[in-house]
Symmetry: C2
Subunit: 207 residues, 2 copies
Amino acid sequence: MTKKSGSFHHGNLSDALVKAATQLITARKAMTFSVREVAQSLGVSHAAAYRHFKSKSDLLAIIAQTGFIDLRDALEAAQIRTSNKIEVKETLRAMGNAYIEYAIHNAGAYRTLFHPNICDVALYPQLHEVSFASLRVLIDILEMGQAQGIVAKAPNAANLATIIWSALHGYASLFLDKQISETGEYFAPPSSREAFLDFIYGGLFAK
Amino acid sequence: MTKKSGSFHHGNLSDALVKAATQLITARKAMTFSVREVAQSLGVSHAAAYRHFKSKSDLLAIIAQTGFIDLRDALEAAQIRTSNKIEVKETLRAMGNAYIEYAIHNAGAYRTLFHPNICDVALYPQLHEVSFASLRVLIDILEMGQAQGIVAKAPNAANLATIIWSALHGYASLFLDKQISETGEYFAPPSSREAFLDFIYGGLFAK
DNA sequence: AACAATAAGTTACCACTGTCAACATTTTGG
DNA sequence: CCAAAATGTTGACAGTGGTAACTTATTGTT
């Protein structure tokens, strides 16, 4: 991960910084990294990063942006994987599982998605756009389900999507923060993911 | 917030530090503070704090601990407020609202509850104990509901409680992180809290 | 009451962080 | 070919968590 030797310029430092930082937080399963160590890992001075990002928060925002895109891709992949099904039920289930899987296997990235330094919509509008794009995948499926007469029509699909998102986010977050576990290894009792999904989607189709 | 003037010793610096730090994060609605500024606000040198806490994380853990206790108190207050009701339905609803209210009105404290530096159960067992004590309030109500034949018997009350906790935590977290709002002021569509609670508890009593 | 032990402050330092300014070099466009 | 712009460099700054060595106050024992 060093620069092209002999060359003064790196070539594509901007992307390299994002990749290296993402790699770090992925390996650490936490969103802690310093700009300086990322620069050093690329064989570049610490100030070089600031030619490409106005601040560390800007770098965080880019990482989060690609994170949301990856998440959306994971959800879409789950949708395609179940596209042979006629009804929407199993697609929703697969998407719920995909969401939680993404959070668990990309703990560092998942945490940056909601980093307090980048939650200001006015400062990072594109970030919130891609966040909404992820949600859009869920909304679309729900609308499809409503058209099929399988999913309850009230509240509307958008509202339903935010509810399901909340639940999935809460489960994933508590899991990453070691407040709940499937095995009950902490103080809280064992919490089955399947039971969780049953419960959430059970409400969806009730009535 | 200065020390008793003229006296070398502060009197009760330990408590004062916790209170001052809590005050800071409450005012900022974020979990950012430095040990040094807290010490300075008490008219004391920065190193004095380290006579009472081995590390900043230890201080965070104490803050989180009292936070969990406050949360449990808020849940119990909701329970008492609805104790004239025969059935458990409205108590659960009130507790759901109390949980979200606590998170919103104590944003800084709520965030420290799940701070990554203190999520290791082995390092801070008492913290996870009080966390579980909060959950216990919910479990008890659910068990009562099951005894009344109102709440579904499967999954068991403990599992149900973690599911509801997940949902509430997700809603509160996304709300604090400005991913969802009741007015739809961001990219995500408006998300009604009442609709959210309807959905969550709807699943509880279904069948 | 005298005095050692301990508790609880102090200053001075360390390595590290984000960020910026001043300077150097490379690439690029006219 | 050269000025302009892009992209790198070093060196500084204030602020951070944390530790060590030192000083002062409190406390318990004789």
